[in-house]
Symmetry: C2
Subunit: 452 residues, 2 copies
Amino acid sequence: MKKYDVIIIGGGPSGIITGVTGKKRNPGKSFLMINEEAKGLVPCGIPYIFHDLDDVSQNAMGPKPFIDAGGDVITDKVIKIEIENKQVTTVSGNSYQYDKLVLATGSTPIIPNFIKGYDLEGVEYIKKSYDYIDNLKKKTDEAKNIVVIGGGFIGVEVAEQLAKFENKTVTLVEMEKFCLYRAFSKNVAEEADKTIRNTNIKLYTNNNVTEIIGENGKVRSVILSNGKEIIADVIIAAIGYKPNAELAEKTGLEINSNGAIRCDNYLRTSEDNIFAVGDCSQTIGFITGRTDCIMLASTATAEARILGYNLFAIKLLRNFVGTLSIFSTEIGGTVFASAGAIDQSAESANIEYVTGSFIDVDRHPGTIKDAKPLMVKLVVSPRTGTIIGGEMYGGKSVGELINVVGLAIQKEVTVYELISFQIGTHPLLTTAPTKYVLIKAAEMAAVQIENK
Amino acid sequence: MKKYDVIIIGGGPSGIITGVTGKKRNPGKSFLMINEEAKGLVPCGIPYIFHDLDDVSQNAMGPKPFIDAGGDVITDKVIKIEIENKQVTTVSGNSYQYDKLVLATGSTPIIPNFIKGYDLEGVEYIKKSYDYIDNLKKKTDEAKNIVVIGGGFIGVEVAEQLAKFENKTVTLVEMEKFCLYRAFSKNVAEEADKTIRNTNIKLYTNNNVTEIIGENGKVRSVILSNGKEIIADVIIAAIGYKPNAELAEKTGLEINSNGAIRCDNYLRTSEDNIFAVGDCSQTIGFITGRTDCIMLASTATAEARILGYNLFAIKLLRNFVGTLSIFSTEIGGTVFASAGAIDQSAESANIEYVTGSFIDVDRHPGTIKDAKPLMVKLVVSPRTGTIIGGEMYGGKSVGELINVVGLAIQKEVTVYELISFQIGTHPLLTTAPTKYVLIKAAEMAAVQIENK
């Protein structure tokens, strides 16, 4: 039986980055990746397959960097882990021994089995599977009427892409008052709402799909909780993902209340020599220190880097406990992003906070041709002035500006520090140095602290 | 005689922001700004007046935010400061008493009086004066042949803008091997060089202007050190700026070896109750702690915020000594930026360092339509792994990504922390989470430390 120093189950971003980092840091060790599918996808790129990209092949992501680093890859499915023997067995009947085992088994879409008709033909999902999405794209290309259930990031992005086809009617159904309401506070979510309604998406918020109506076993329409019936050739259910922890559970690893594999700050599970990384592993909220549910390729790869360095010993200290969620998306040309705490999450965790907001144009002078409004809001702990969250919307620069806030949160920067800090500005690239929006938001938060 | 709690001499970014911040923090105090010119300019926007903006009025910046906050403004020139009487006198014969006096007198272009013919008609400067630039724009609009002397940021940006007119021949002369060689290390400066040569600018590096030839008292051509004669209707000398510290010197304030007003970390000069802020005040290198020469609106406004808070007592602590230079510019659609130490500045200050670089596309997958290469290089102190500098080039997102590096330097982030940190990524906005360029550069630097 072949023995490897490290076996990684799963070939998504966390599997690949654990493999690449681990192999580069430990060139003398042997690495095997076992992946169910030969071809992979950039997970966050999937929505763009439906319009902006030509086809699924333009969004391919494979284990090549891992192979280039010297890792072995096989396409197979692990069905059994034997902890005593340090051995895995695949569906094709092969067994491999490991010294260290990494579970990077990802997540799967939640099936809306509480909706009558959920099992009709034509109810689809955003599965992180190359062949599945390839097939789904063919179906959406042909469809005239598409209903997307769920206004989280995936639902909004898929709907936005599909609505770019002028000959399609795309309906988005969200049960909350606003889409993206897990990532943005009321005012920002309202702005996102306005932006979504300015696209060709027909948006129904405060609504559930109460029933999916079929005809000859295929979907024909959906019924909303407001009673409206909407014709649909294809329904895309984007109501969330659940950790793919079946194999771990069967093996006897501890699972948390969200169904994720329990592990410590260094991704070590309840069993020695077994690690879990990415969507299948538990997340701890960065601010609260309690169980959270964040499934992002960016957080998965951050965990994977830490695991890759630390497979054989803790060499790279993790400077905090938990996972900081940083979200960003673009809707109809406007970018929305958030990092860390927002009003709702601070309130639900009973965290005292103040906020400070500022809006200006993202170029200076504002007469520069591509200037767009830029809004930044900071969430701040009033006792120390420490920044614990931020939200923003504006042009494409928001994609990196949110990472300034992300770093500030991770390094516990206070608004007072931020006010005294230097930033780089340029007429064609940023807001003016005299009213750099991030720093003005910090000033506004400082005023709120004084007034408290 | 009218008495003010605070008198600010100068109405550029540092004067305005000191005034706005000071007045807002101290609403009960009276503020007067005395400015030589009624109309002001966004200093860093001046190059764009020559092409991208329609005229100088599109780049106007006035004291309105200060007036809105409750400050008084007069157009006049202070010619005398009496320290004993706490009084200033203007050229128009008026005197005003102050409790606190702020010198925000800015900087003036260096005159190349070492070049024969420097005083001919047609030798121009990028003066931070509304009327002067308004007039200069009329001259450049008419000119066919323009020579820009000096390939620093101002020279490159002005030349780039003027070269966008197809009917003009624009020549840029730089004495160093590369333009922008104070801000970028060799490889990045080489890339900038390539980018400049891809515009319509005729670039001569490793060259000086040895003589300016005139005809009837007006410029006709310049002679380069390589012997070449270049026809010129207008010459723009952009060889740097010197602090405007005349008044301070006359008053007896201490001046440093660069001709800047000496002051402490809170902008206090050698005299009680007199402050100096912005280009006219001394700068201390953030990494070296020794005298430096940085004149940027971004650093000036950062100082002005600190001063505005602290005019009557130190209320806002400054978390470090010195000024971190963060530069960015766009040349022919490519953005170049740097923050803190580069190879040359580290070497000249005898600072041990390693570097780590990485290049990839700034979208993911790379098939996203507006993807551009993004290069990041970090300069790192090997003993602790602390980031002390960074450079990058790429698309417009570089304008804010450099501020992630700027914050990292100011908060003494190590490459090990950065590797373990979370970042936000999105297909349409950033590099892939699996190879986020900034983090890969940190990984490369960590490898260099291990190999050292």
